[in-house]
């Protein structure tokens, strides 16, 4: 096989692998990405039920209700609230008044969450929550309102 033929084989192999990869990426990006919104954006956008989203904000004080199987709480950015129901175990750091990110499917009643993430420690707040709070104008540096730390 000549050098030129060898090079062509290599290029063909590379095209096949890269083409497959590009196809997979495009397919996965279309079906497997999730948009993130704050509660105010959810209300403003009026998204149809069935949309897969992530929402972030603070767990509203006094809103947490739990029974054996499900937890219900509201996520707020100070302007609007979104009701969330969640069937799994809540993370250890889940507290009222603290930052949380919930992922799931929107329904008429709110968000049916499939995953709930709480912040890591008191110095760490999900970046998305900080941005959502800043957007709604409820962000305060070092504030203790709602347990928001920097």
């Amino acid at each position: 096989m000549t050098r030129k033929k060898k090079r062509l084989t290599l290029i063909a192999a590379a095209m096949v692998v890269l083409g497959t990869a590009a196809g997979l990426v495009l397919y996965a990006l279309r079906d497997n990405i999730v948009f993130f919104y704050g509660p105010s954006e959810i209300v403003a956008k009026d998204l149809p039920p069935g949309t897969h989203v992530r929402i972030g904000g603070l767990v509203k004080q006094g809103s947490l209700k739990r029974d054996a199987q499900t937890a219900r709480f509201e996520v707020t950015d100070g302007k609007h609230e979104i009701a969330v129901t969640y069937g799994g175990a809540l993370p250890d750091l889940f507290r009222e008044g603290q930052g949380v990110v919930a992922e799931g499917v929107l329904s008429a009643a709110g968000l049916e969450a499939t995953q709930v993430l709480a912040k890591h420690d008191e110095r760490y707040m999900p970046k998305e929550v900080v941005d959502a709070l800043k957007k709604s104008g409820r962000w305060q540096e070092n504030a203790d309102v709602g347990g928001v730390a920097q």
Binding site: A21, L24, V25, L29, N32, A89, H120
Partner: protein
């Protein structure tokens, strides 16, 4: 005083690094061997000062010197001694100091391995290494000073993040750093080779041990990190496709590709340009990983508290090194002579395919990790690209690679015979199929993918050893010479061949562990004392809920008894610990290992008083996932101990230099 000494030592180390970044290169340019000769001793001195500085910070942590901001924010006097030591790298400033310390350790190791290397390459490698050291020392001194004082020292510290108070943390970040930073050596070798115009089989032979060292640490670091996340985050998962995890996966993929392409370059003098490019890419990805972790541009469960100034600084470092290296590459790569000749179906051909797939996987992970960032900065839309994306892209790319792995191993160099190689794998294929059939008939309720992946795993494990088995038992050795002959053959097989087989088998072992997750079971429920739950073949009973006091926490403990049938086989004490200083709690999962499977119980405070919320998992063969990683790392070590790969094989390398094509 000790603290000031540490600070001063760090400044001196910076001065030395600046000196070493310039003078040896000047020596290379003017062919002045005295100027080139300064590099090793300066690198050793630099290591001494960084080590002193690190020791000073450790001393401050051990003695709870709260006049240091870093100690005050991350330590407390009641904290156990081991976490005072590991806590040094449990925060941003300290971990960057550890980063630089490891960089200095590697520089010192290169400095000491001079005998085997041409002097100009040696000097250039150390100079490039010094550029990196200087950049990171500057970063620490300007944005992340670990020695900053507090004017009015408080009497008690804020304690270390409880999540980090764990033995897993004692080893996993240093291992990862050894991997990340080890890649800086291969980067320095690539840049050095471009500067000196010296890129040949000798270079490949010199660089391969360093790549292997970095790869072994990176592999072990990733495996340990995965296990740490598994048992401390309390979710029972082992890989979350989190940006921080991807940050370590990307350099690993590139380093794995580099390891394989350097083998081609060493044996056949081919793929030179590509190998150099990979060496640059692997370390660039380490830097990008550092940027992702340190800058907080991406949301991650692992990120530290962040300061935008730091992110910008690291971005500048990143642009400087990646851009500089690529510029050097563009200017010099065309001077390389094309090397050895090979047919598409050959060991080289298989390794090229391996490289293609690994780098494509790497690119896919890169896109998935950074796409959200790009989209947000251009459109303001926030998205998350999670596990489904990576599962849908990386898995389909990876599985064919694994399937072809044993075949590639059995192809000969230069011109191979595909069907011949496939023939040698009859036995491996049979084993894989047997596994499929057994599982399909026995566990017909299990998910199909688990059964298929189990078969693949067995095929990969057996196939990894096919080449060695053929050498040992081929050509009726056993009939003619008996076991003595086999033993003789076994000793004759190079250690690096055993290493390769082990590393590949490790992938098979991990695959078995992954496949077995499909037969696992999980339950999430609220329990009060006396309640029982069945999971897999076991029955778990919560006997009582107790409390306990730790040195710096209080704990609520669920005592759980495990029964298999009527027999009691063990007990677990999963707990939820509360750390008052930080006002936070953390789960301490109860894990019982049974024949490589694990019963995993995590508890958190129940809604009603006197209850706990329990997460109970039965995970058959789950330990295989990490044992596979350990076997891979061990395979790397075995390869590394091969006489021919040892760092500093002076005379052999010189002989090779005379006849680069004569590699066996």
């Amino acid at each position: 005083m000790i603290v000031e000494t540490g600070h001063f030592a760090l400044i001196l180390a910076l001065a030395l690094a600046c000196f070493n970044a310039v003078v040896p290169l000047w020596g290379v340019a003017t062919r002045d061997s005295r100027l080139m000769g300064t590099a090793p001793s300066i690198a050793l001195a630099g290591f001494g000062f960084v080590a002193l500085s690190y020791a000073a910070l450790t001393y401050a942590h051990i003695t709870s010197d709260f006049s240091l901001l870093n100690v005050y924010e991350n330590s407390a006097s009641a904290k156990p001694l081991i976490y005072k030591i590991t806590g040094v790298w449990g925060n941003h400033e300290g971990s960057m100091l550890l980063w630089v310390l490891i960089l200095a350790v590697f520089a010192a190791a290169v400095a000491l391995s001079a005998r085997a290397m041409p002097q100009d390459l040696h000097a250039a490698v150390l100079a490039v290494q010094s550029w990196i050291s200087a950049a990171f020392l500057l970063f620490i001194l300007l944005t992340s000073d670990p020695f900053a004082r507090i004017a009015n020292p408080p009497i008690e510290g804020q304690d270390l993040n409880p999540l980090l108070q764990d033995p897993g943390l004692a080893i996993h970040p240093p291992l990862l750093y050894l991997g990340y930073v080890g890649l800086s050596i291969t980067f320095a070798f690539a840049a050095g080779a471009l500067i000196c115009g010296r890129i040949d089989a000798v270079w490949a032979r010199l660089v391969r041990p360093w790549t292997l060292i970095a790869w072994v640490f990176l592999t072990l670091g990733i495996a340990m990190g995965s296990y740490w996340a598994y048992y401390t985050l309390g979710w029972g998962g082992f890989w979350f496709w989190d940006p921080v995890e991807n940050a370590s996966l990307m350099p690993w993929l590139a380093a794995t590709a580099l390891l394989h392409s350097a083998a081609v370059m060493e044996k056949r003098d081919a793929l030179k340009v590509w190998t150099i490019f990979l060496a640059i890419l692997a370390f660039s990805l380490s830097l990008i990983g550092t940027f992702i972790v340190r800058s907080g541009v991406l949301t991650s469960v692992h990120s530290f508290a962040n300061d935008p100034q730091r992110g910008e600084f690291i971005l500048a470092i990143l642009v400087f090194f990646i851009g500089g290296a690529l510029l050097l590459f563009a200017l010099r790569a065309n001077t390389l002579k094309p090397g050895g000749f090979f047919a598409p179906i050959s060991r080289e051909g298989a390794l090229v395919l391996n490289n293609l797939v690994l780098t494509t996987c790497c690119a896919t992970v890169f896109v998935g990790t950074l796409y959200p960032l790009a989209l947000e900065s251009f459109t303001g839309e926030k998205i998350s690209v999670g596990a489904p994306f990576f599962n849908a892209t990386v898995v389909p790319l990876f599985l064919p690679l694994v399937l072809l792995m044993p075949i590639g191993q059995n192809l000969s160099w230069k011109r191979g015979d595909f069907f011949g190689a496939a023939q040698r794998l009859y036995f491996a294929l049979l084993c894989g199929l047997a596994m499929l059939l057994v599982l399909a008939s026995w566990h017909h309720n299990g998910p199909l993918t688990s059964i298929l992946v189990s078969g693949l795993g067995v095929y990969v494990i057996v196939g990894a050893f096919a080449e060695i088995a053929n050498r040992l038992f081929g050509r009726v050795a056993l009939v003619k010479g008996g076991l003595a002959q086999v033993w003789q053959h076994a000793v004759g097989v190079p250690l690096s061949t055993y290493g390769t087989a082990l590393a590949h088998a490790g992938i098979g072992v991990s695959l078995l562990g992954l496949a077995a997750t499909g037969w696992g079971a999980e339950k999430i429920l609220t329990m009060k004392p006396g309640d029982s739950a069945n999971v897999g073949p076991y029955q778990l009973t919560l006997t009582r809920i107790g409390t306990a006091m730790g040195p710096n926490y209080t704990a609520k403990i669920g005592h759980v008894v495990i029964r298999e049938g009527a027999r009691e086989i063990g007990a677990l004490d999963p707990a939820v610990r509360f750390y008052p200083t930080r006002q936070m709690s953390r789960a301490e999962a109860g894990i019982k290992t049974l024949n490589f499977g694990q019963i995993y119980v995590g508890v958190s405070d129940g809604v009603k008083p006197g209850t706990v919320d329990a997460r109970i998992y039965w995970k058959p063969l789950v330990a295989f996932i990490w044992i596979g990683g350990l076997i891979m790392g061990f395979g790397g070590l075995v390869s590394l101990s091969d006489r021919r790969l040892r760092i500093g094989v002076a005379h052999r390398v010189r002989k090779l230099a005379a006849a680069p094509q004569a590699a066996e």
